[in-house]
Amino acid sequence: MKESLGVYDYWPYEDRPKLEWPNGARVAFWVAPNIEFYELDPPDNPHRKAWPQPSPAVPGYAIRDYGNRVGHRRQMALLDKYGIRGSVSLSVALCEHHPEIIDMCRERDWELFSHGIYNTRYTYGMSEAQERTMIRDAMESIHRHTGQKCAGYLAPALSHSERTLDLFAEVGSELFGDEGGFYTCDLFHDDQPTPVSVRNGKRFISVPYSLEMNDTIVYTVNKVEPRHYATMLKRHFDRLYEEGAESGTVMCIPTHNYQVSCPHRIKALEEALEYITGHDGVWLATGREIAEHYLAHHYDTAVADIERRKGGAQ
């Protein structure tokens, strides 16, 4: 075990090279719907229990199924209304289980990125070869079902190994060269994209995916009232919009169709989307678009600035 993660360097938020988004936007805004499949009877993982009860864990399974049966369409209708294309963090087994949802995402040119096979299969305890196989399966599934060269990763149920990012980058290179496997959503250390070092030396970055704004964290961990979630989202946006005048920022709303789309909660998301999309300086983007723009225009400058400031230079 390592004392520190060691995949990115300390890089202070102040005085960074100016980040410029297309058309002078201040905030690159993206919505990342997690579309997940949880198994009713998952195999045991020695390091983490999938459900608090013995299988069948009806309460936990059923509400997540609600997300796909009922919630997804509500959320999709809202994103359509505000001209937002989702960047889907996908349990890729959903391509087999619920291809109708995948088709709707494709028709809208939504991005699909890997969130593992099932959200009840954890990375913990996997050998490197096993994790590589799982990552490859996921990227190949997305490609087979949608033709997309998977660019991003959010580890299943946020379960990681020390090698997760390396393996994702490597499998991406093997399958798609530089066109796949180049950003991660697993790091929560910044409000701007940052370079991340991976074993194969690839140009690889982190795209901010906020756990603080993540509906599941908000509703189930922090137990926030629905209408207050709307307030939090607006405040979060306001500050990033203000700071974005100086240098571009990223705001992500990670969602789960079984949380945001409940009838007593969906208004909070709608209010926030209405508010955010009502601002001129907002770039409605996907995770991949943000990553590609950053890699093309800002990655090299960032690497140089990080190198320059490593020793404490102002």
Partner: protein, 311 residues
Amino acid sequence: MSLDDRYFEYPWRRHGYDHDRYDWTMLADRPPVTWPGGKRLAVWVNLSLEFYPLNQRGEPFKVPNGMKMPYPDLRHFTLRDYGNRVGVFRCLKAFDRYGVRPTVAINSQLARDTPYLTRRLLERDTELLCHGWNMDHLHYGGQDPREEREQVKRSLDTLNQLAGRPVRGWLSPARNQSWHTPDLLAEHGVEYCADWVNDDMPYPFRTDHGPLTMMPLPTEIEDQFVIGQNLHSEDSWVEQVQDAVDFLAGEAAEQGGRMLGLSLHPWLIGQPHRIACLEAVLEQLSRRDDVWLATAGEILDAFNTQTRSER
């Protein structure tokens, strides 16, 4: 370090679900259902009457809202008992005031041991759901099948006998089930179950003994979840129910009838400082002309009459 090969096998990775209990369909794609009188949203108010034993076994887990302290946990035992002695009558008064007929999910042991309460409910012609034996008699994966069969049978026989008629609905304690629970329910004459919270409409559910109808009774909006577990204010709960009703009625206008089961616990909402919030919710519901306030059985009948003739 590595995991067993089985961890990388996906035997159920196929179209539909990883089980055969019900079909995969998205709510938005189903033929619209219409409710009597052209109402948009069918609402059933469920009151859960529960007995939490002091000598809780916690098998295979401690039921939410059960005993938490070392034995004897007088604190939680009596607070829950408060609901059946005091809170329930405050709730019934509130229902009467706004003309709402609740459906009552009751533990069969409680129905047997509190004859006054059971008689009061039956006098009011209340629709009863069987809520299992008591809150410490969970149904769960790995449970001895003979034990569970006896538990289901005893719960239903007891309540049927007290009610003088077969009970139509079932709500498992903590909504937990074994792999066999739905089969046992259908075998013993249950028509609908409220355990699976995966829809905003009733839907057909397969068992070894013919179809059950699943009537989802959502956890996420119920009093004990919003106020008790999430610690939201009572006023916020009122707003949340209002937001849910507004949204579902709006969706129904475009897509066909919707259903909301609103589950209540008298030990929580029946407290003097909270009851006005229940009244506010009931008042709003009773004023809306797009809401059909019905019992679960009435909604079940309207749904099945319509969808079975279309099938």
